[in-house]
Symmetry: C2
Subunit: 242 residues, 2 copies
């Protein structure tokens, strides 16, 4: 398997670096990296540095930087508008979508969402999504962390879809297959994944008025936590990323 990835605020500019804080603890005390082992430091914004451990402390590592690389921003960008989901379904969706390479997740407070993100509880729920995306990005060795903002209203996500190079709305009733719809070669592809109860007719109409196309994934009904990752996999293959 490839070298483990640890996230840093900024890539080290010196040749020697001390990885401390929570990431240092994780590397030294949990993963128990030792002198001579290799790792990657990433800033989550495309920058990565390969490094080798010089000395391992209790909760930190001293490493020697052996190389630096800067990944180009992905283009087209894959953005998913993901309806809030109950239980751990939202986090499972964020985790799997991050692994398969989503570039941005826009949480969506859709009309039929059973949960809404309000007040402190909402803030905690959002932080769980952010933390999940961060862990999944590390686990999958991604040089880019997915962007993940606050929950948007239907009006806000409709505007976002309207401004994209392409908007796609997963809709089991659509006759258009996601494997055949035209895709742009640059800009943002925004995919809308509705809640368990489905996208309300007025919401679907608003997305269509903003230029989005309803598309379907096969003939079966997918849970919201499966639909996004399955659709992203098809899109990643179709735009040549996979």
């Amino acid at each position: 398997m490839s070298r483990p990835l640890f996230l840093v605020d900024a890539l080290p500019t010196e040749d020697t670096y001390t990885l401390d804080g929570p990431e240092g603890h994780h590397a030294a005390a949990v993963q128990r990296l030792r002198a001579g082992e290799e790792l990657t430091l990433g800033d989550g914004r495309g920058g990565t540095a390969t490094a080798v451990v010089i000395a391992a402390g209790r909760d930190s590592l001293t490493v020697s930087i052996t190389g630096r690389a800067y990944a180009r921003p992905p283009d087209p960008r894959l953005v998913v508008v993901q309806a809030l989901a109950k239980g751990d379904r939202g986090e499972l969706a964020v985790q799997a979508m991050t692994e398969v390479g989503v570039d941005e997740i826009v949480p969506w407070a859709a009309a039929r969402c059973v949960v809404q993100w309000r007040g402190d509880r909402g803030e905690r729920a959002r932080h769980r999504w952010v933390a999940t995306a961060r862990e999944a990005a590390k686990q999958s060795r991604r040089p880019w962390l997915p962007a993940l903002g606050p929950a948007g209203s239907t009006r806000q996500v409709v505007d976002r879809v309207g401004a994209a190079a392409a908007g796609l709305v997963l809709d089991p009733e659509s006759a258009t297959r996601i494997s055949t719809v035209d895709l742009p070669t640059t800009g943002e592809i925004v995919l809308v994944v509705g809640p368990e109860g489905g996208i309300a007719p007025a919401e679907l109409a608003a997305f269509e008025a903003a230029g989005a196309r309803p598309v379907r994934l096969g003939d079966t009904v997918l849970r919201t936590s499966t639909a996004g990752v399955a659709a992203l996999a098809v899109l990643a293959a179709r735009i040549g990323r996979w």
Copy 2:
């Protein structure tokens, strides 16, 4: 959303039918279907009957059959050899793969699996996979239940791969992309998804000797519970099923 699906041992041949047992309980007491509502009965082997509720009891429904349909067996068939996974990762994989349309799941006791299915505990673990596939098939309104046998040894799954029209092994080190590999138009496509610790070199060599091709999914590292569903989505789109 489409009509709820309930599984029966055999499609009713009469025009009136009583749905009882666990499925009747689920329909009458949990989903609370009432007279006039529509549902689907499925035998899990391609046969479905549409029906309308005539009378709802406490734990059963009397329904009138309004139509029957028999789906053709899917071809090519999508078979996944899924390494055993710890915690609920195996069940999550089975759930999501069933939703996206896997036709058969072969549990695989790979060398690097942290868990093995032995004795009563193993039998219980297998039953959880079977129950998960059944629930996911109902939830996603699939006319076919995925086949799901006992855990196979590496020798057994290598033989299975060797007999397939195409064998693909997910391997992050492969230079061949799953979106470009040649696929057959008929017969079985068997996809091998390794354990969290990766497929052992001797296992990979055995699959290759049996004619399988290593393929990769993008540049990131996917968990075993995400890899199968993402790969299946790409394959479903490529064989024209999606």
